[in-house]
C-alpha cells in the first residue's frame, strides 16, 4: 500500500498550474465570458441591425480592405527588408535591424500623431505628395499608411530567421544546374520561405484589423468614408449604445479566433517545411 501517490518527479506542478489557471480565468476567461453573456441578452434582429447597418458595413469594409492592402504591402516590402538585412552588408545594418521593431515598442498614439504630422498636406512627406494630387492624411490612404506602419515588424521578423537558416548549398546547387538568380529565387527560395511569409502577413493583417491608436488620428474618422470598425465600436460606446458595441465586438472576437486558427495551421505547415529541409 502506498501512502500517497506522487505523479511528478519535478516539483511545483500543482502550484504553477493552479496559479496559471486561476490567473487566466480571472483576467482572461471570466471577462470574455462577460462579453458572450452580454451578447446573449441582445436579440437577434437587434444584433443583425447593428452589424449590418450601412455605417457598420462601411466600417467593416474599410477595415478589411485597408488591412488586406497593408498586409500585402508589408508582405512585399517586409520580405525585401528581411532579404536586405540578412543577405547584404552595409553600414548601420544592425541599427536599422533593431529599429524594425519600433512599431512594437512605440505607443500607438505617438505613432498616430507622428504619421499624421508627416503625411498631412503641410508635413514633410505630405508636401512632396500634394503636388502629385495625392492626399494621405484624413483619407483612406492614410488608414492604409497607419496599418502598414504597425504591421511592418511582423513580416520581417517572421521571414528573417528562416532566411538566416536557409542552406546556401541549395542555392549553389540551383546555380550549378544552370538556374538564373531569379529562377533560383522564384523556384527554390520562395517556396521555402512561403509558410513563414504567409504567417507574417496573417499576423500583420490581424494586427491591422484590430488597430485603433495609430489610425484614429490619421483617418479623420468620417463615417462611411474613413471610419474603421474599431473607431465605430468606440463611437457606439461613447453614445452608450452598449448593444451595438457588443454586437460588433463579438464579431471581431469571432474573426480573431479564426485568424488565430489560421496562424496555428500556418505555423504547423511551416514546421513541417522546416523538418523537410
Amino acid at each position: 500500500m502506498r501512502p500517497r501517490l506522487r505523479r511528478h518527479v519535478l516539483p511545483g506542478f500543482g502550484l504553477s498550474l493552479g496559479f496559471t489557471l486561476s490567473y487566466v480565468c480571472l483576467l482572461i476567461l471570466i471577462p470574455l465570458t462577460g462579453v458572450v453573456l452580454r451578447a446573449r441578452s441582445i436579440t437577434w434582429p437587434e444584433f443583425v441591425a447593428s452589424v449590418t447597418s450601412e455605417r457598420a458595413l462601411a466600417a467593416f469594409g474599410l477595415s478589411l480592405g485597408a488591412a488586406v492592402v497593408a498586409a500585402v504591402v508589408n508582405g512585399v516590402f517586409g520580405l525585401l527588408v528581411a532579404w536586405v538585412l540578412v543577405r547584404y552588408r552595409f553600414p548601420g545594418r544592425r541599427l536599422i535591424d533593431a529599429c524594425v521593431d519600433l512599431p512594437f515598442a512605440l505607443p500607438t498614439s505617438v505613432a498616430g500623431i507622428a504619421l499624421t504630422t508627416v503625411y498631412s498636406p503641410a508635413g514633410w512627406l505630405g508636401q512632396q505628395l500634394a503636388p502629385l494630387g495625392i492626399q494621405v492624411a484624413f483619407t483612406r490612404l492614410g488608414v492604409i499608411v497607419a496599418l502598414t506602419f504597425i504591421g511592418l515588424p511582423f513580416v520581417v521578423r517572421a521571414v528573417q530567421p528562416v532566411l538566416e537558416d536557409l542552406d546556401r548549398e541549395i542555392e549553389d546547387a540551383a546555380a550549378s544546374l544552370g538556374a538564373t538568380r531569379w529562377q533560383t529565387f522564384r523556384h527554390v527560395l520562395l517556396p521555402s520561405i512561403l509558410p513563414a511569409l504567409l504567417t507574417g502577413v496573417t499576423l500583420a493583417f490581424a494586427r491591422a484589423l484590430g488597430e485603433y491608436g495609430s489610425v484614429v488620428f490619421i483617418s479623420g474618422n468620417l463615417p462611411f468614408r474613413t471610419e474603421v470598425i474599431t473607431l465605430l465600436i468606440v463611437a457606439r460606446l461613447e453614445q452608450f449604445d452598449y448593444a451595438g458595441a457588443t454586437a460588433m465586438a463579438s464579431m471581431m472576437l469571432g474573426v480573431s479566433f479564426l485568424i488565430l486558427l489560421t496562424i496555428n495551421l500556418l505555423q504547423a505547415w511551416s514546421r513541417r517545411r522546416g523538418a523537410l529541409a
Binding site: V84, L125, L152
Partner: protein, 274 residues
Amino acid sequence: MMAGTDRRTESRVVRWTLTAVALAFLLCFLFVPLAVVFMQAFAEGVRAYWMALVEPMSLAALRLTALAALVAVPANTLFGLAAAWAIARFDFPGRGLLITLIDLPFAISPVVSGLVFVLMFGAQGLLGPWLIAHDIKIVFAVPGILLATMFVTVPFVARELIPVMQEQGSEEEQAALALGASGWQMFRRVTLPNIRWALLYGVVLLNARAIGEFGAVSMVSGHIRGQTNTAALHVEILYNEYNFAAAFAVASVLALMALATLAAKSIVGRRITQ
C-alpha cells in the same frame, strides 16, 4: 558561361537597388515619423518642451503610466514563470488550449480588450449594479486601467520562456534534484540562471507594451485628467486640443522609452543567441 555573371549572388546593381528600395520604405514608414516626434517636440524651444513635461497634468499622466507598468510587469512576470514551468515541464490534458488562451490577448483588438472590462464592470455591465451598490469603481478609474494593462500584456513573458525551456529540457533540473536540492533551490540556482536572458527579453517587451498601451486603456479610462489619464492618453488629449508642441513633448518621452526598449531588446537578444 558569360564572363562576370556570378549566379550565386545578385549583381551589384541589383543589390544596390534592392537595398535602396528597402531603406526608402523604412525611411518613409519608420525613420521620418520617429524624427518628426523629436522635431515637433522642440518646435517651440527647449523651454516650452520642459514646461510641457513638468506641467502637473503631464506629470500625473507619467506617474499613472509608471504605476500601470509597476503593477503589470511583476504580475505578468510571475504569471509567465508559473505558466512556462507548468507548460514546458509537464504534460497535461488541455495544454494546447491553455497556450492558446494565454496568447488570446495578442489576437484580440485592443478596443475589444478594453470593452470587455467595460461590459463586465461598467455601470451597464454584468457586475455594474453590485459594484455601484458597494461604491466600488473599477471602470473609468485607476483599477480599470491597471486591469486593461495587465490583460493586454499577459502573454509576453510566457511566450518567450516556453520555447526556451522546452528546448533546454529538464535534465539539469533533474540533476539538481538528484544532488539533493529542494524545489526552491533547484529553481533559484539552476532554472532561473538558465532562462535569465529570455526572461529579461520578455520583461523588456512586457514593460514597453505596459507603458505604451493605448486602445484598451482608452476604453476604460474615462479620460479624467490628472486622475485616469496615462501618458499615451495624455498625448491624444493634448493633440486634440491643438497643443501640438506639448503633445509631441510627452510623445518624445514615450518614444525615448521605446528606443531604450529597442536597444535593450537587441542587446539581450544577442545574449540569448550566444
